[in-house]
Symmetry: C2
Subunit: 283 residues, 2 copies
Amino acid sequence: MKRPTMKDVARAAGVSPMTVSRVVSGEAGVAPGTAARVEQAVRRLGYQGNDNARHLRQKDPGTATIGLVVDDLANPFYAFMARSVEDEAHRRGYVVLVGSTNDEPRREREVIAAFTARQVDGLILVPTVGGHGFLRQPMRAGTRVVCVDRPARGLAVDTALARHGLRSRTQARAALDALRELPQPPTAAFTSNDVITLGVLDGAGGPGHVAVVGFDDLPLGERLDPPLTVVSQDPVALGGTAATLLFSRIDGDRSAPRSVVLLTRFVARGAGGAPSGTPGPPG
Amino acid sequence: MKRPTMKDVARAAGVSPMTVSRVVSGEAGVAPGTAARVEQAVRRLGYQGNDNARHLRQKDPGTATIGLVVDDLANPFYAFMARSVEDEAHRRGYVVLVGSTNDEPRREREVIAAFTARQVDGLILVPTVGGHGFLRQPMRAGTRVVCVDRPARGLAVDTALARHGLRSRTQARAALDALRELPQPPTAAFTSNDVITLGVLDGAGGPGHVAVVGFDDLPLGERLDPPLTVVSQDPVALGGTAATLLFSRIDGDRSAPRSVVLLTRFVARGAGGAPSGTPGPPG
DNA sequence: TTGAAAGCGCTAACAA
DNA sequence: TTGTTAGCGCTTTCAA
Protein backbone atom coordinates (compact mmCIF):
# COMPACT_ATOMS: atom_id res chain seq x y z
CA MET A 1 0.00 0.00 0.00
CA LYS A 2 1.42 3.34 -1.04
CA ARG A 3 1.38 6.44 1.05
CA PRO A 4 -1.60 8.57 -0.02
CA THR A 5 -0.68 11.94 -1.52
CA MET A 6 -2.45 15.22 -1.77
CA LYS A 7 -3.72 14.17 -5.16
CA ASP A 8 -5.38 11.12 -3.64
CA VAL A 9 -7.08 13.24 -1.02
CA ALA A 10 -8.14 15.74 -3.66
CA ARG A 11 -9.73 13.04 -5.76
CA ALA A 12 -11.48 11.54 -2.75
CA ALA A 13 -12.87 14.91 -1.72
CA GLY A 14 -13.72 16.06 -5.22
CA VAL A 15 -11.53 19.15 -5.11
CA SER A 16 -8.21 20.24 -6.54
CA PRO A 17 -4.90 19.47 -4.79
CA MET A 18 -4.51 23.17 -4.16
CA THR A 19 -7.60 23.18 -1.99
CA VAL A 20 -6.27 20.25 -0.01
CA SER A 21 -3.02 22.12 0.47
CA ARG A 22 -4.93 25.10 1.82
CA VAL A 23 -6.89 22.99 4.24
CA VAL A 24 -4.00 20.99 5.66
CA SER A 25 -1.85 24.07 6.10
CA GLY A 26 -4.68 25.90 7.81
CA GLU A 27 -4.96 28.71 5.29
CA ALA A 28 -8.02 30.88 5.41
CA GLY A 29 -10.39 31.29 2.51
CA VAL A 30 -11.77 27.81 2.12
CA ALA A 31 -15.51 27.34 2.45
CA PRO A 32 -16.38 25.47 5.65
CA GLY A 33 -18.23 22.76 3.79
CA THR A 34 -15.33 22.15 1.43
CA ALA A 35 -12.86 22.09 4.29
CA ALA A 36 -14.97 19.54 6.11
CA ARG A 37 -15.05 17.24 3.09
CA VAL A 38 -11.31 17.52 2.71
CA GLU A 39 -10.69 16.82 6.37
CA GLN A 40 -12.86 13.77 6.19
CA ALA A 41 -10.95 12.46 3.20
CA VAL A 42 -7.70 13.13 5.04
CA ARG A 43 -8.85 11.04 7.96
CA ARG A 44 -10.31 8.31 5.82
CA LEU A 45 -7.12 7.87 3.81
CA GLY A 46 -4.81 8.48 6.73
CA TYR A 47 -3.08 11.22 4.78
CA GLN A 48 0.06 12.77 6.22
CA GLY A 49 1.95 15.45 4.31
CA ASN A 50 5.42 14.88 2.96
CA ASP A 51 7.64 17.44 4.65
CA ASN A 52 10.53 16.80 2.32
CA ALA A 53 8.45 17.74 -0.68
CA ARG A 54 6.96 20.66 1.17
CA HIS A 55 10.34 22.09 2.13
CA LEU A 56 11.57 21.64 -1.41
CA ARG A 57 9.03 24.03 -2.82
CA GLN A 58 8.21 26.26 0.10
CA LYS A 59 9.46 29.82 -0.12
CA ASP A 60 10.62 30.31 3.42
CA PRO A 61 13.75 28.29 3.75
CA GLY A 62 14.63 25.47 6.06
CA THR A 63 13.73 21.89 6.83
CA ALA A 64 13.16 22.23 10.58
CA THR A 65 15.94 19.71 11.08
CA ILE A 66 19.23 20.17 12.87
CA GLY A 67 22.20 17.86 13.21
CA LEU A 68 24.06 17.02 16.40
CA VAL A 69 27.51 15.52 16.00
CA VAL A 70 29.32 14.38 19.12
CA ASP A 71 32.25 12.19 19.95
CA ASP A 72 30.22 9.38 21.43
CA LEU A 73 26.53 9.37 22.12
CA ALA A 74 26.97 6.63 24.72
CA ASN A 75 29.19 8.85 26.83
CA PRO A 76 26.87 10.19 29.53
CA PHE A 77 28.29 13.66 29.11
CA TYR A 78 27.21 13.83 25.48
CA ALA A 79 24.02 11.93 26.17
CA PHE A 80 22.93 14.64 28.58
CA MET A 81 23.98 17.27 26.11
CA ALA A 82 22.01 15.55 23.38
CA ARG A 83 18.90 15.36 25.48
CA SER A 84 19.18 19.03 26.24
CA VAL A 85 19.61 19.93 22.58
CA GLU A 86 16.70 17.71 21.66
CA ASP A 87 14.42 19.34 24.22
CA GLU A 88 15.15 22.78 22.85
CA ALA A 89 14.68 21.55 19.30
CA HIS A 90 11.41 19.84 20.12
CA ARG A 91 10.11 22.96 21.78
CA ARG A 92 10.64 24.78 18.50
CA GLY A 93 9.23 22.08 16.28
CA TYR A 94 12.59 20.89 15.01
CA VAL A 95 13.88 17.33 14.81
CA VAL A 96 17.43 16.23 15.51
CA LEU A 97 19.72 13.99 13.51
CA VAL A 98 22.50 12.56 15.68
CA GLY A 99 25.86 11.09 14.88
CA SER A 100 28.95 9.97 16.76
CA THR A 101 32.38 10.61 15.31
CA ASN A 102 34.39 8.34 17.58
CA ASP A 103 36.89 11.15 17.25
CA GLU A 104 37.65 9.97 13.72
CA PRO A 105 37.86 12.85 11.21
CA ARG A 106 36.73 10.55 8.44
CA ARG A 107 33.57 9.48 10.19
CA GLU A 108 32.97 13.09 11.16
CA ARG A 109 33.08 14.08 7.50
CA GLU A 110 30.78 11.26 6.49
CA VAL A 111 28.22 12.11 9.14
CA ILE A 112 28.24 15.81 8.38
CA ALA A 113 27.99 15.18 4.66
CA ALA A 114 24.98 12.94 5.19
CA PHE A 115 23.38 15.64 7.32
CA THR A 116 23.98 18.54 4.97
CA ALA A 117 22.80 16.42 2.03
CA ARG A 118 19.50 16.26 3.90
CA GLN A 119 19.47 20.03 4.12
CA VAL A 120 19.78 20.48 7.87
CA ASP A 121 19.31 24.08 8.90
CA GLY A 122 22.08 23.91 11.44
CA LEU A 123 24.72 21.80 13.07
CA ILE A 124 25.92 21.47 16.65
CA LEU A 125 29.33 19.94 16.47
CA VAL A 126 31.90 18.60 18.91
CA PRO A 127 34.82 18.74 16.51
CA THR A 128 37.35 15.95 16.13
CA VAL A 129 41.05 16.64 15.96
CA GLY A 130 40.93 16.92 12.17
CA GLY A 131 40.66 20.05 10.02
CA HIS A 132 37.28 21.51 9.25
CA GLY A 133 37.69 23.23 5.92
CA PHE A 134 34.87 21.11 4.57
CA LEU A 135 32.49 23.13 6.73
CA ARG A 136 33.08 26.32 4.78
CA GLN A 137 30.91 25.38 1.84
CA PRO A 138 27.73 24.42 3.73
CA MET A 139 28.19 27.45 5.93
CA ARG A 140 28.35 29.71 2.90
CA ALA A 141 25.25 27.99 1.63
CA GLY A 142 23.40 28.88 4.79
CA THR A 143 23.93 26.02 7.23
CA ARG A 144 24.55 27.53 10.66
CA VAL A 145 27.18 25.86 12.80
CA VAL A 146 27.86 25.94 16.53
CA CYS A 147 30.99 24.20 17.73
CA VAL A 148 31.12 22.84 21.24
CA ASP A 149 34.66 22.63 22.40
CA ARG A 150 35.75 19.45 23.99
CA PRO A 151 36.27 19.32 27.72
CA ALA A 152 39.90 18.33 27.33
CA ARG A 153 41.00 20.57 24.44
CA GLY A 154 44.09 22.64 25.21
CA LEU A 155 44.10 21.38 28.57
CA ALA A 156 46.90 18.88 29.13
CA VAL A 157 50.56 19.40 28.33
CA ASP A 158 51.87 16.57 26.24
CA THR A 159 54.48 15.14 28.56
CA ALA A 160 55.77 11.64 28.99
CA LEU A 161 52.99 11.07 31.49
CA ALA A 162 50.13 12.24 29.28
CA ARG A 163 48.06 9.82 27.25
CA HIS A 164 45.63 10.85 24.56
CA GLY A 165 43.14 9.13 22.32
CA LEU A 166 41.97 6.50 24.77
CA ARG A 167 38.57 5.30 23.65
CA SER A 168 37.33 3.01 26.40
CA ARG A 169 37.37 2.11 30.04
CA THR A 170 39.54 -0.91 29.25
CA GLN A 171 42.05 1.11 27.29
CA ALA A 172 42.24 3.69 30.05
CA ARG A 173 42.97 1.06 32.63
CA ALA A 174 45.68 -0.47 30.47
CA ALA A 175 47.27 2.94 29.97
CA LEU A 176 47.34 3.58 33.69
CA ASP A 177 48.78 0.15 34.35
CA ALA A 178 51.55 0.91 31.89
CA LEU A 179 52.26 4.29 33.48
CA ARG A 180 52.56 2.63 36.86
CA GLU A 181 55.31 0.40 35.49
CA LEU A 182 57.50 3.44 34.85
CA PRO A 183 60.55 4.06 37.04
CA GLN A 184 58.87 7.22 38.30
CA PRO A 185 55.21 6.28 38.32
CA PRO A 186 52.59 8.99 38.74
CA THR A 187 51.05 9.57 42.14
CA ALA A 188 47.95 11.20 40.77
CA ALA A 189 45.86 11.06 37.62
CA PHE A 190 43.77 13.72 35.96
CA THR A 191 41.21 12.28 33.61
CA SER A 192 39.42 14.14 30.89
CA ASN A 193 36.06 12.43 30.79
CA ASP A 194 34.19 9.96 32.83
CA VAL A 195 34.71 6.91 30.71
CA ILE A 196 38.42 7.39 31.20
CA THR A 197 37.87 8.13 34.87
CA LEU A 198 36.19 4.75 35.27
CA GLY A 199 39.08 2.92 33.68
CA VAL A 200 41.61 4.76 35.76
CA LEU A 201 39.68 4.04 38.93
CA ASP A 202 39.79 0.38 37.98
CA GLY A 203 43.56 0.48 38.07
CA ALA A 204 44.24 3.13 40.69
CA GLY A 205 44.08 0.97 43.81
CA GLY A 206 46.61 -1.33 45.41
CA PRO A 207 50.03 -0.50 46.82
CA GLY A 208 51.22 3.04 46.09
CA HIS A 209 47.74 3.91 45.00
CA VAL A 210 47.08 6.73 42.55
CA ALA A 211 44.89 9.70 43.43
CA VAL A 212 42.29 10.56 40.81
CA VAL A 213 40.80 13.88 39.77
CA GLY A 214 38.23 13.61 37.04
CA PHE A 215 36.84 16.00 34.51
CA ASP A 216 33.06 15.58 34.34
CA ASP A 217 31.15 14.38 37.32
CA LEU A 218 29.87 10.85 37.55
CA PRO A 219 26.73 9.62 39.18
CA LEU A 220 27.85 7.75 42.28
CA GLY A 221 31.16 9.66 42.29
CA GLU A 222 30.37 10.94 45.75
CA ARG A 223 29.83 7.45 47.13
CA LEU A 224 33.24 6.06 46.30
CA ASP A 225 35.84 5.52 48.98
CA PRO A 226 37.60 7.92 48.91
CA PRO A 227 35.03 10.11 47.17
CA LEU A 228 35.95 11.22 43.68
CA THR A 229 37.25 14.75 43.24
CA VAL A 230 36.17 16.26 39.94
CA VAL A 231 36.11 19.34 37.81
CA SER A 232 32.44 19.34 37.08
CA GLN A 233 30.86 20.51 33.85
CA ASP A 234 27.21 20.86 33.16
CA PRO A 235 26.37 19.10 29.91
CA VAL A 236 22.74 20.15 30.11
CA ALA A 237 23.72 23.80 30.23
CA LEU A 238 26.21 23.21 27.46
CA GLY A 239 23.62 21.61 25.19
CA GLY A 240 21.01 24.21 26.01
CA THR A 241 23.40 27.05 25.34
CA ALA A 242 24.59 25.54 22.08
CA ALA A 243 21.02 25.01 20.91
CA THR A 244 19.98 28.53 21.85
CA LEU A 245 22.95 29.95 19.97
CA LEU A 246 22.18 27.82 16.94
CA PHE A 247 18.53 28.77 16.83
CA SER A 248 19.30 32.45 17.16
CA ARG A 249 21.48 32.04 14.06
CA ILE A 250 18.81 30.09 12.26
CA ASP A 251 16.32 32.79 13.20
CA GLY A 252 18.43 35.36 11.42
CA ASP A 253 21.14 36.56 13.81
CA ARG A 254 24.02 37.53 11.53
CA SER A 255 26.32 39.08 14.10
CA ALA A 256 30.00 38.18 14.20
CA PRO A 257 31.01 34.71 15.39
CA ARG A 258 30.89 34.47 19.13
CA SER A 259 32.55 32.41 21.82
CA VAL A 260 30.57 31.54 24.91
CA VAL A 261 32.37 30.12 27.90
CA LEU A 262 30.61 28.25 30.66
CA LEU A 263 32.06 28.02 34.13
CA THR A 264 33.19 24.74 35.63
CA ARG A 265 33.02 23.76 39.28
CA PHE A 266 35.83 22.14 41.20
CA VAL A 267 34.29 19.57 43.51
CA ALA A 268 36.93 18.50 46.00
CA ARG A 269 35.72 15.39 47.75
CA GLY A 270 39.03 13.76 48.64
CA ALA A 271 41.61 15.22 51.07
CA GLY A 272 43.68 18.32 50.37
CA GLY A 273 41.59 19.97 47.65
CA ALA A 274 40.08 23.41 47.30
CA PRO A 275 36.74 24.14 48.99
CA SER A 276 33.85 22.36 47.34
CA GLY A 277 31.80 24.25 44.83
CA THR A 278 34.29 26.98 44.00
CA PRO A 279 33.59 28.36 40.54
CA GLY A 280 36.74 28.36 38.51
CA PRO A 281 38.00 29.09 35.02
CA PRO A 282 36.99 26.66 32.33
CA GLY A 283 39.22 23.85 31.16
CA MET B 1 24.75 32.80 -1.02
CA LYS B 2 22.40 30.08 -2.22
CA ARG B 3 23.25 26.43 -2.37
CA PRO B 4 24.32 25.58 -5.93
CA THR B 5 22.07 23.11 -7.73
CA MET B 6 22.63 20.67 -10.49
CA LYS B 7 21.52 23.30 -12.94
CA ASP B 8 24.27 25.63 -11.76
CA VAL B 9 26.86 22.92 -12.20
CA ALA B 10 25.47 22.06 -15.61
CA ARG B 11 25.71 25.63 -16.77
CA ALA B 12 29.25 25.97 -15.41
CA ALA B 13 30.36 22.80 -17.16
CA GLY B 14 28.46 23.46 -20.36
CA VAL B 15 26.39 20.28 -20.21
CA SER B 16 22.84 19.32 -19.38
CA PRO B 17 21.70 18.63 -15.81
CA MET B 18 21.22 15.02 -16.77
CA THR B 19 24.89 14.64 -17.48
CA VAL B 20 25.72 16.15 -14.12
CA SER B 21 23.33 13.69 -12.50
CA ARG B 22 25.10 10.83 -14.23
CA VAL B 23 28.51 11.99 -13.11
CA VAL B 24 27.66 12.62 -9.48
CA SER B 25 25.84 9.33 -9.13
CA GLY B 26 28.72 7.48 -10.72
CA GLU B 27 26.79 6.13 -13.68
CA ALA B 28 28.77 4.71 -16.56
CA GLY B 29 28.52 6.06 -20.08
CA VAL B 30 29.87 9.56 -19.70
CA ALA B 31 32.90 10.53 -21.77
CA PRO B 32 35.97 10.94 -19.56
CA GLY B 33 36.57 14.48 -20.72
CA THR B 34 32.99 15.51 -20.01
CA ALA B 35 33.08 13.87 -16.62
CA ALA B 36 36.26 15.73 -15.77
CA ARG B 37 34.72 19.08 -16.67
CA VAL B 38 31.68 18.30 -14.56
CA GLU B 39 33.76 17.21 -11.61
CA GLN B 40 35.76 20.38 -11.80
CA ALA B 41 32.62 22.48 -11.80
CA VAL B 42 31.31 20.49 -8.85
CA ARG B 43 34.45 21.28 -6.89
CA ARG B 44 34.59 24.90 -7.93
CA LEU B 45 31.01 25.57 -6.90
CA GLY B 46 31.13 23.30 -3.87
CA TYR B 47 28.11 21.44 -5.13
CA GLN B 48 26.49 18.85 -2.91
CA GLY B 49 23.39 16.99 -4.00
CA ASN B 50 20.05 17.46 -2.30
CA ASP B 51 19.09 14.06 -0.96
CA ASN B 52 15.55 15.11 -0.18
CA ALA B 53 14.92 15.99 -3.81
CA ARG B 54 16.73 12.87 -4.94
CA HIS B 55 14.62 10.59 -2.77
CA LEU B 56 11.47 12.32 -3.91
CA ARG B 57 12.01 11.31 -7.49
CA GLN B 58 14.12 8.19 -7.26
CA LYS B 59 12.42 4.94 -8.15
CA ASP B 60 13.79 2.74 -5.41
CA PRO B 61 12.05 3.81 -2.30
CA GLY B 62 13.41 5.11 0.93
CA THR B 63 15.24 8.07 2.40
CA ALA B 64 18.06 6.22 4.15
CA THR B 65 16.81 7.71 7.40
CA ILE B 66 15.49 5.90 10.44
CA GLY B 67 13.97 7.23 13.63
CA LEU B 68 14.84 6.20 17.16
CA VAL B 69 12.33 7.07 19.85
CA VAL B 70 13.26 6.35 23.45
CA ASP B 71 12.03 7.35 26.86
CA ASP B 72 15.02 9.53 27.69
CA LEU B 73 18.17 9.89 25.68
CA ALA B 74 20.05 11.06 28.76
CA ASN B 75 19.41 7.77 30.52
CA PRO B 76 22.64 5.81 30.06
CA PHE B 77 20.70 2.71 29.18
CA TYR B 78 19.07 4.38 26.18
CA ALA B 79 22.20 6.31 25.36
CA PHE B 80 24.09 3.05 24.89
CA MET B 81 21.23 1.65 22.91
CA ALA B 82 21.19 4.74 20.71
CA ARG B 83 24.89 4.54 20.05
CA SER B 84 24.51 0.94 19.05
CA VAL B 85 21.64 1.71 16.70
CA GLU B 86 23.57 4.58 15.23
CA ASP B 87 26.61 2.43 14.56
CA GLU B 88 24.57 -0.10 12.68
CA ALA B 89 22.80 2.66 10.75
CA HIS B 90 26.04 4.38 9.87
CA ARG B 91 27.52 1.14 8.64
CA ARG B 92 24.64 0.91 6.18
CA GLY B 93 24.69 4.53 5.11
CA TYR B 94 21.63 5.53 7.08
CA VAL B 95 21.20 8.49 9.38
CA VAL B 96 19.25 8.51 12.62
CA LEU B 97 16.67 10.93 13.91
CA VAL B 98 16.34 10.73 17.69
CA GLY B 99 13.61 11.75 20.06
CA SER B 100 12.78 11.33 23.73
CA THR B 101 9.20 10.80 24.81
CA ASN B 102 9.62 11.40 28.53
CA ASP B 103 7.06 8.63 28.70
CA GLU B 104 4.41 11.10 27.60
CA PRO B 105 2.09 9.66 24.91
CA ARG B 106 1.53 13.12 23.53
CA ARG B 107 5.17 13.84 22.99
CA GLU B 108 5.59 10.37 21.57
CA ARG B 109 2.94 11.11 18.98
CA GLU B 110 4.47 14.45 18.10
CA VAL B 111 7.93 13.01 17.66
CA ILE B 112 6.75 10.08 15.57
CA ALA B 113 4.59 12.34 13.41
CA ALA B 114 7.55 14.61 12.76
CA PHE B 115 9.65 11.59 11.80
CA THR B 116 7.14 10.00 9.48
CA ALA B 117 6.46 13.37 7.86
CA ARG B 118 10.12 13.28 6.90
CA GLN B 119 9.60 9.88 5.34
CA VAL B 120 11.75 7.76 7.63
CA ASP B 121 12.12 4.23 6.34
CA GLY B 122 11.79 2.74 9.78
CA LEU B 123 11.30 3.38 13.45
CA ILE B 124 12.84 1.85 16.55
CA LEU B 125 10.50 2.65 19.36
CA VAL B 126 10.46 2.28 23.12
CA PRO B 127 6.72 2.70 23.52
CA THR B 128 5.12 4.84 26.19
CA VAL B 129 2.19 3.65 28.20
CA GLY B 130 -0.27 5.12 25.69
CA GLY B 131 -2.04 3.40 22.84
CA HIS B 132 -0.35 3.07 19.49
CA GLY B 133 -3.14 2.97 16.96
CA PHE B 134 -1.56 5.93 15.22
CA LEU B 135 1.23 3.63 14.09
CA ARG B 136 -1.06 1.60 11.87
CA GLN B 137 -1.22 4.15 9.08
CA PRO B 138 2.52 4.71 8.57
CA MET B 139 3.06 0.97 8.85
CA ARG B 140 0.53 0.30 6.13
CA ALA B 141 2.30 2.94 4.07
CA GLY B 142 5.58 1.11 4.38
CA THR B 143 7.29 2.42 7.49
CA ARG B 144 8.82 -0.53 9.31
CA VAL B 145 8.59 -0.49 13.09
CA VAL B 146 10.52 -2.36 15.76
CA CYS B 147 9.33 -1.94 19.32
CA VAL B 148 11.77 -2.34 22.15
CA ASP B 149 9.95 -3.33 25.26
CA ARG B 150 10.77 -1.46 28.36
CA PRO B 151 12.82 -3.09 31.06
CA ALA B 152 10.07 -2.65 33.63
CA ARG B 153 6.99 -3.54 31.57
CA GLY B 154 4.87 -6.21 33.17
CA LEU B 155 7.34 -6.69 35.73
CA ALA B 156 6.14 -5.36 39.09
CA VAL B 157 2.88 -6.13 40.77
CA ASP B 158 1.06 -2.97 41.65
CA THR B 159 0.95 -3.26 45.41
CA ALA B 160 0.96 -0.63 48.08
CA LEU B 161 4.72 -0.72 48.01
CA ALA B 162 5.13 -0.22 44.27
CA ARG B 163 5.75 3.18 42.77
CA HIS B 164 5.54 3.96 39.08
CA GLY B 165 6.21 6.91 36.87
CA LEU B 166 9.17 8.32 38.76
CA ARG B 167 11.13 10.53 36.38
CA SER B 168 14.27 11.51 38.24
CA ARG B 169 16.80 10.66 40.89
CA THR B 170 15.25 13.23 43.21
CA GLN B 171 11.75 11.88 42.75
CA ALA B 172 12.97 8.37 43.39
CA ARG B 173 14.62 9.35 46.60
CA ALA B 174 11.52 11.15 47.77
CA ALA B 175 9.40 8.12 46.98
CA LEU B 176 11.67 5.86 48.98
CA ASP B 177 11.70 8.30 51.87
CA ALA B 178 7.92 8.21 51.88
CA LEU B 179 7.84 4.43 51.78
CA ARG B 180 10.16 4.27 54.76
CA GLU B 181 7.67 6.33 56.78
CA LEU B 182 5.09 3.57 56.46
CA PRO B 183 4.18 1.48 59.50
CA GLN B 184 5.65 -1.55 57.73
CA PRO B 185 8.51 -0.06 55.75
CA PRO B 186 10.18 -2.13 53.04
CA THR B 187 13.45 -3.87 53.82
CA ALA B 188 14.51 -4.08 50.22
CA ALA B 189 13.95 -2.15 47.01
CA PHE B 190 13.89 -3.35 43.45
CA THR B 191 14.48 -0.54 40.98
CA SER B 192 13.63 -0.61 37.32
CA ASN B 193 16.34 1.56 35.82
CA ASP B 194 19.53 3.13 36.92
CA VAL B 195 18.29 6.67 37.35
CA ILE B 196 15.82 5.32 39.90
CA THR B 197 18.53 3.14 41.40
CA LEU B 198 20.62 6.21 42.08
CA GLY B 199 17.81 7.99 43.84
CA VAL B 200 17.00 4.97 45.94
CA LEU B 201 20.62 4.53 46.89
CA ASP B 202 20.59 8.14 48.04
CA GLY B 203 17.89 7.31 50.52
CA ALA B 204 18.64 3.67 51.33
CA GLY B 205 21.21 4.16 54.09
CA GLY B 206 20.86 4.95 57.76
CA PRO B 207 19.17 2.93 60.52
CA GLY B 208 17.16 -0.02 59.24
CA HIS B 209 18.81 0.37 55.88
CA VAL B 210 17.14 -0.86 52.73
CA ALA B 211 18.76 -3.44 50.46
CA VAL B 212 18.74 -2.50 46.80
CA VAL B 213 18.53 -4.64 43.71
CA GLY B 214 18.64 -2.70 40.49
CA PHE B 215 17.55 -3.40 36.97
CA ASP B 216 20.28 -2.24 34.56
CA ASP B 217 23.86 -2.18 35.65
CA LEU B 218 25.60 1.05 36.53
CA PRO B 219 29.20 1.95 36.00
CA LEU B 220 30.78 1.96 39.46
CA GLY B 221 28.01 -0.30 40.76
CA GLU B 222 30.62 -2.83 41.77
CA ARG B 223 32.58 -0.30 43.79
CA LEU B 224 29.79 0.66 46.15
CA ASP B 225 29.76 -0.55 49.72
CA PRO B 226 28.00 -2.91 49.75
CA PRO B 227 28.31 -3.59 46.03
CA LEU B 228 25.14 -3.18 44.05
CA THR B 229 23.23 -6.28 43.06
CA VAL B 230 21.56 -5.93 39.70
CA VAL B 231 19.64 -7.64 37.00
CA SER B 232 21.85 -6.63 34.15
CA GLN B 233 20.66 -5.89 30.65
CA ASP B 234 22.84 -5.20 27.69
CA PRO B 235 21.63 -2.04 25.96
CA VAL B 236 24.23 -2.42 23.23
CA ALA B 237 22.93 -5.85 22.32
CA LEU B 238 19.40 -4.54 22.53
CA GLY B 239 20.10 -1.66 20.17
CA GLY B 240 22.07 -3.83 17.79
CA THR B 241 19.36 -6.45 17.68
CA ALA B 242 16.64 -3.89 17.15
CA ALA B 243 18.57 -2.25 14.34
CA THR B 244 19.31 -5.57 12.66
CA LEU B 245 15.65 -6.51 12.83
CA LEU B 246 14.61 -3.16 11.43
CA PHE B 247 17.04 -3.28 8.55
CA SER B 248 16.02 -6.78 7.62
CA ARG B 249 12.48 -5.45 7.35
CA ILE B 250 13.59 -2.45 5.37
CA ASP B 251 15.55 -4.77 3.10
CA GLY B 252 12.38 -6.61 2.27
CA ASP B 253 11.74 -9.22 4.95
CA ARG B 254 7.95 -9.58 5.02
CA SER B 255 7.66 -12.50 7.39
CA ALA B 256 5.19 -12.43 10.26
CA PRO B 257 5.87 -10.10 13.19
CA ARG B 258 8.44 -11.56 15.49
CA SER B 259 9.38 -11.25 19.16
CA VAL B 260 13.01 -11.49 20.09
CA VAL B 261 13.90 -11.92 23.73
CA LEU B 262 17.35 -11.19 25.07
CA LEU B 263 18.58 -12.84 28.23
CA THR B 264 19.35 -10.85 31.32
CA ARG B 265 22.05 -11.59 33.85
CA PHE B 266 21.56 -11.57 37.60
CA VAL B 267 24.67 -10.07 39.12
CA ALA B 268 24.60 -10.73 42.84
CA ARG B 269 27.20 -8.60 44.49
CA GLY B 270 25.67 -8.19 47.94
CA ALA B 271 25.05 -11.03 50.38
CA GLY B 272 22.45 -13.75 49.91
CA GLY B 273 21.93 -13.61 46.16
CA ALA B 274 22.19 -16.18 43.41
CA PRO B 275 25.58 -16.93 41.90
CA SER B 276 26.94 -14.11 39.78
CA GLY B 277 26.40 -14.30 36.05
CA THR B 278 23.49 -16.71 36.01
CA PRO B 279 21.45 -16.23 32.87
CA GLY B 280 17.83 -15.88 33.73
CA PRO B 281 14.49 -15.16 32.13
CA PRO B 282 13.88 -11.63 30.93
CA GLY B 283 11.95 -9.10 32.96
C1' DT C 1 -13.65 30.73 -2.93
C1' DT C 2 -11.43 27.70 -6.19
C1' DG C 3 -8.31 25.99 -9.67
C1' DA C 4 -4.62 25.91 -13.50
C1' DA C 5 0.09 26.46 -14.56
C1' DA C 6 4.71 26.47 -13.28
C1' DG C 7 8.52 24.98 -10.83
C1' DC C 8 11.52 23.47 -6.25
C1' DG C 9 16.00 19.79 -7.36
C1' DC C 10 16.28 15.80 -8.95
C1' DT C 11 15.93 11.21 -11.83
C1' DA C 12 13.25 7.63 -15.05
C1' DA C 13 12.29 6.76 -19.56
C1' DC C 14 12.96 7.57 -23.83
C1' DA C 15 14.94 9.79 -27.88
C1' DA C 16 18.74 11.29 -30.82
C1' DT D 1 27.44 9.56 -25.38
C1' DT D 2 24.23 13.22 -24.53
C1' DG D 3 19.91 15.57 -24.11
C1' DT D 4 14.68 16.10 -23.78
C1' DT D 5 10.51 15.40 -21.56
C1' DA D 6 7.88 14.36 -17.79
C1' DG D 7 6.92 14.04 -13.12
C1' DC D 8 8.01 12.84 -7.69
C1' DG D 9 4.58 15.80 -3.83
C1' DC D 10 4.17 19.92 -2.82
C1' DT D 11 3.49 25.35 -2.86
C1' DT D 12 3.70 29.78 -5.36
C1' DT D 13 1.48 32.82 -8.38
C1' DC D 14 -1.94 34.19 -10.96
C1' DA D 15 -6.40 33.87 -13.13
C1' DA D 16 -11.27 32.88 -12.92
